[in-house]
Amino acid sequence: AAAEPRPRLSPQRLRAAVHYAVCGLCQEVAEDKAVQFSKQSLAAIAELTFRQCETFARDLEMFARHAKRSTITTEDVKLLARRSNSLLKYITQKSEELASSNMEQKEKKKKSSASKGGRMHREEEAAVTESEDSNMA
């Protein structure tokens, strides 16, 4: 199931997905601030987001390689987000939560390793990765 959507993730489809997500977010903001977004602005924001995501990805890869790693970690993300103080704070907070939850989960796993086995691990890992992804987004 995870591999199937992959071929669909062509650039156009990705753009469309980003556009859809941006529209949804902007609608929420519009309702919140009682303002309206024109289509062109939504399209512009979506395109901007897409290009910025590309930049982020490239930078993250650079950071990881700079640290002589082949995996992008939260450290790279934090380095990326340090320009914006609020964002950095948020991400740091989230990462700490994740780290703590990971610790807890690890402890739980150790406790229940005998009983639960790998399933819990996978679920926890998935949850962890999902939370990380949310952070990155």
């Binding site: 650079m62 950071f63 700079h66 002589k68 450290e75 790279d76 380095l79 340090r82």
Partner: protein
């Protein structure tokens, strides 16, 4: 010149510049031999004149007299010949030959400066004529010239045969004329002399130049300044006293005693360089420096008095300032100053203008503070500081200045503030000397953060007490490292912390002795110097401050030497001068030494010493990019004139940019788990900036933009002999 001659009534026709005169020149000095040919040459002369294209009657008249042989020479002759010719008609009752002879004989001495255009015969005549012609009163010269001209004419006549000019002949003629001229005292005293003078550039100063208008400012002005200054200072002091009587009374009483004694000492004016003596002397010197600046004519006695008054004022100011610690307002500060001055004046019974002046200066100083631009948020602490210093002693003032400087440092990103604070500190020290400055300092202080007010207050109290104690000790002590250090620390620290430290330092300095004062003063000097330098750099950045300071500077400028004024409109610049005299005064109890020598010595001595200690101790200021560099680069790329404010903004932007850049670089380095920045970090930074891309590697950029020396360091270069630079 010759035109004037030509303008002679006899010769209405304007002689042409060159031709006619030359024509005439040779004839007059023409020797007898010329006369014969002259008659013949008359006709020839006419064509010459025609050549000259000057149909002046003078020319014609001259033609008769001028030998035709001198045609060529005539062309180059000056118009003075015409002059002679002009004269000729008047006396022309003889033949041309006679006239010429007369001219030659009576012609005035040839001026050695006469242009060498004239050939020998011409020159002889021309020389006499030239100098005379140069003189405005050519007409007057004509008559006397006639006489010598005759003689010269005679000589010319002698050599008339030779149409060509020969240098030897010329020289001979000159020799002839020179003795003739020498004999003619009359000529010398008359137009010739005048012409000579004028030709020589009027080496002798004309009568008009001998006026006394070149004298510098009249004394009267200085007296007025002092009065106004003192009055202002008194006013400030009154204000301050009104605000805080208790504190003032306490401090005043404490200070008064030492101040009184110090006054006496000040009068003695010791010339020691060290803290206490320096302070006293510095104050004295500063005051005296101010005084001289204000009035050159002031006598040393006055200066001593002034120094005393300044010290008194400074003390008063300090007292006032200490009182105002709580308020920390410029006004209060100024008032304190006034009060101090007044109080001091009352104590010292200095009736001379100097104290008043100082008070006024103090007033101005305090008053100037308020107008100071609020660029510096330090307000209360600043004002408090200077007040304290005044009340406590020179040291306090200096420390206060340092504190202020520190405060300002914190407030402002620019290092200037630090310097300014220091300067302020120094100014505070000098406050007595420069009432105006004190006001300025106060302003600066007040402008600084209010946060420090409370801190300052606390610190002030401590410092005040410490200062007071120190004062007592300072007098006796020679070297106190504590206070200067403390002061330095204060300067470094920003805000209350510095104040506290200062107070601590002061207290410690008390133990050490008077030295701190010295050092404080030195620091102040250093700070001032640094501040001045910084200020100079930051001048652009703080136009408002400058404007605010302008009135102060105006006031102070009156006292400061012109060059200081010219150096910078910022009053801070002048503070060093003022600080130095103020510093010694603050120390007060020092044995008084002649102020004059001290002032001259102290500034020189104080400056180098404080700089070394101050710079090392002072809070390490972030190194700034030379504003000159930024300006130059920006101007080059802007390709159009740039306003000063724009430069300031550009400087700020560039500073922020580079700060951010360095922060990023540090983050990248830390991200890689390293502690040393390396090429990889920089490449990452440039990649983020977009300078380095997949298409544009960093090496290409290095090759494009770096000079060979740097490029060699970064990119290995292979040279013959299997060598690679840099060697691996």
């Amino acid at each position: 010149m010759h035109c004037a001659a030509r303008a002679a009534p006899e010769l209405p026709a304007p002689a042409c510049a060159a031709a006619p005169p030359p024509l005439q020149a040779p004839p007059p000095p023409c020797p007898a031999s010329r006369r014969a040919p002259r008659a013949k040459s008359l006709e020839g002369l006419r064509p010459l004149t025609a050549m000259a294209a000057s149909g002046t009657r003078l020319v014609r008249a001259a033609r008769e007299n001028v030998p035709k042989s001198g045609n060529k020479k005539n062309s180059g002759r000056s118009a003075f010949l015409k002059q002679k010719a002009a004269v000729f008609p008047e006396h022309d009752n003889d033949t041309p030959r006679v006239m010429l002879r007369r001219i030659i004989l009576t012609q005035p001495q040839v001026s050695p400066v006469a242009p060498q255009l004239y050939k020998d015969e011409e020159t002889e005549a021309a020389q006499s004529e030239l100098p005379s012609k140069r003189v405005s009163s050519v007409l007057d010269m004509q008559l006397p010239d006639l006489v010598p001209e005759d003689t010269s004419v005679a000589t010319f006549r002698m050599t008339k045969k030779r149409k060509k000019l020969s240098i030897s002949e010329f020289e001979r003629a000159v020799d002839k004329r020179l003795p003739q001229n020498q004999d003619r005292s009359m000529l010398d005293s008359t137009a010739l002399a005048r012409s000579l003078r004028m030709s020589l550039g009027s080496l002798i100063p004309p009568d008009t130049v001998e006026k006394r208008g070149l004298r510098r400012r009249p004394k009267i002005r200085k007296a007025i300044d002092m009065k106004a200054f003192e009055g202002g200072v008194e006013q400030n002091m009154l204000k301050r006293k009104a605000q805080s009587c208790l504190v003032d009374s306490q401090t005043a009483s404490e200070i008064q005693a030492p101040s009184l004694t110090s006054d006496a000492e000040i009068v003695l004016s010791n010339t020691e360089l060290f803290i206490h003596p320096q302070f006293d002397e510095q104050n004295q010197n500063k005051l005296s420096a101010l005084e001289p600046q204000l009035s050159d004519s002031k006598t040393s006695a006055q200066r001593s008095k002034i120094s005393d008054a300044a010290q008194e004022e400074a003390r008063l100011v300090g007292l006032v300032s200490s009182v105002d610690t709580n308020e920390g307002r410029t006004q209060t500060h100024s008032e304190e100053l006034i009060l101090n001055h007044e109080h001091f004046g009352g104590m010292t019974h200095v009736s001379c203008k100097t104290p008043v002046k100082q008070q006024e200066a103090a007033n101005r100083w305090s008053s100037s503070l308020p107008p100071r631009s609020p660029s510096k948020s330090l307000e209360s602490p600043v004002t408090l500081k200077p007040k304290r210093s005044f009340s406590m002693s020179l040291r306090e003032v200096v420390s206060r200045i340092i504190e202020d400087l520190d405060v300002s440092d914190t407030e402002e990103e620019m290092a200037n503030t630090a310097n300014k604070v220091e300067q302020i500190f120094r100014e505070a020290a000098e406050h007595r000397a420069n009432a105006g400055y004190s006001g300025h300092l106060e302003k600066q202080l007040t402008e600084k953060a209010e946060l420090q007010i409370t801190m300052a207050q606390d610190g002030k109290v401590k410092t005040e007490t410490a200062a007071l104690e120190e004062e007592g000790i300072a007098e006796g002590d020679v070297e106190h490292q504590g206070s200067p250090e403390a002061e330095q620390e204060i300067a470094k620290d920003v805000g209350a912390a510095s104040l506290v430290r200062h107070s601590d330092a002061i207290s410690s300095s008390e133990k050490n002795g008077v030295k701190p004062l010295e050092e404080a003063v030195e620091q102040a000097d250093e700070l001032e110097d640094q501040a001045i330098a910084l200020e100079l750099d930051g001048l652009e950045e703080e136009p408002t401050e400058d404007g605010a300071e302008d009135p102060e500077s105006a006031e102070v400028s009156m006292r400061t030497p012109t060059f200081v004024r010219a150096a910078a409109y910022k009053p801070l610049l002048s503070t060093p001068h003022h600080v130095k005299p103020a510093a010694p005064k603050l120390s007060a109890p020092r044995p008084a030494k002649p102020v004059a020598p001290k002032s001259s010595l102290q500034p020189l001595q104080a400056k180098p010493v404080p700089k070394s200690s101050g710079t090392s101790r002072r809070k390490p200021r972030e190194p700034e990019i030379a504003s000159r560099l930024i300006k130059g680069i920006f101007r080059h790329y802007a390709k159009m004139p740039v306003a000063r404010d724009a430069f300031k903004v550009v400087e700020k932007c560039s500073e922020r940019y580079f700060k951010q850049l360095s922060n990023d670089l540090e983050a990248y380095t830390r991200h890689a788990g390293r502690r040393t920045v390396e090429m990889a970090d920089l490449e990452l930074l440039m990649r983020r900036q977009g300078l380095v891309t997949d298409k544009m590697p960093i090496n290409v950029l290095i090759e494009d933009y770096f000079p060979m020396e740097y490029r060699k360091l970064l990119i290995p270069v292979a040279v013959c002999g299997n060598k690679v630079i840099p060697s691996k």
